[in-house]
Symmetry: C2
Subunit: 170 residues, 2 copies
């Protein structure tokens, strides 16, 4: 057994291996295709857009969140981006070094750190986001237009459901 496999070959091999193991293949397909899609889409967007601007994937997502909320606490960024606060510290350091964001201690609660875009950061997002959305349109085009809303809603449901179980620290 060696060499490159197509997606179909893999699926066939899997169903052979697991036959008689009482596995829910439909649920497995949902989860594994979720990760395959996320990985493929992320690679595509990194190569087609982000690399050209010297941005990492997480760096871009953080910029996006800060852009949307104008001023936002780091703990909230971590939650929205889906990373730990520890990881975020490093990413923010990089973004600050590159002059895209600024951190400021909150006057009301001095434990908190508020993040804002610099004018360079805003300029960056204004330029990148339309390009980014063009690629999103391209990627979504592999789903029938009539189904796009349904798929988005289904994914949203999974997100909400999975997070409900995590009333935990990050």
């Amino acid at each position: 057994m060696a060499g490159a496999h197509t997606l179909s070959e893999t699926e066939r091999q899997v169903s052979t291996l697991l036959k008689g193991m009482n596995i829910d293949f439909k649920a497995m397909a949902v989860v594994s295709n979720l990760f395959r899609a996320a990985s493929a889409v992320r690679n595509h967007l990194e190569r087609e857009i982000l690399s050209r601007h010297g941005l990492s994937w997480t760096g871009f997502v953080v910029l996006w969140v800060v852009w949307v909320w104008e001023s936002i606490e780091t703990r909230t960024i971590a939650e929205e981006v889906g990373t730990s606060k520890a990881s975020l510290t490093g990413v923010l350091k990089t973004l600050e070094r590159d002059g895209l964001i600024i951190k400021k201690q909150s006057k009301i609660d001095r434990r908190l750190v508020l993040v804002t875009l610099t004018s360079d950061g805003r300029r960056m997002m204004k330029k990148i986001f339309p390009e980014f959305n063009k690629e999103e349109i391209f990627l979504a085009s592999f789903i029938k237009p009539a189904e796009q809303r349904g798929v988005a809603d289904a994914l949203r449901g999974i997100t909400v459901g999975a997070k409900r179980e995590n009333l935990k620290k990050n």
Copy 2:
């Protein structure tokens, strides 16, 4: 603007910011919900299952691929898992250190490295995979059963489409 936001609040804020910018919101929703879902599901599975067995996410996926194919070249693992060959080198080193896999040089082409599970590795997968599938069932349950197949197929379509553009090195 500060504090925690619900998914709905975020969506409202986004549509306000981008109003008049000629953005395809449907495509944006597909992509952003794809990543939110992948992140939430991954965190859930890491916390509920993998952490207990001392496995990283990627480590588990690599084990899974090797389990499925019994013996497989590293370049193929990298492709199926969706990482670079360089990243895979490190992950394999960890898995080998933990006694879950073995690497062997190919006799036919001495550049190639073939990977196999150890008996510990097989034992691990036999134990973990049913637990893992139970969580997959739980996660998929947030989609109506009748829609699960359709969502999986849609994600599969995106994967194939996004990868078609990447006839590139990894």
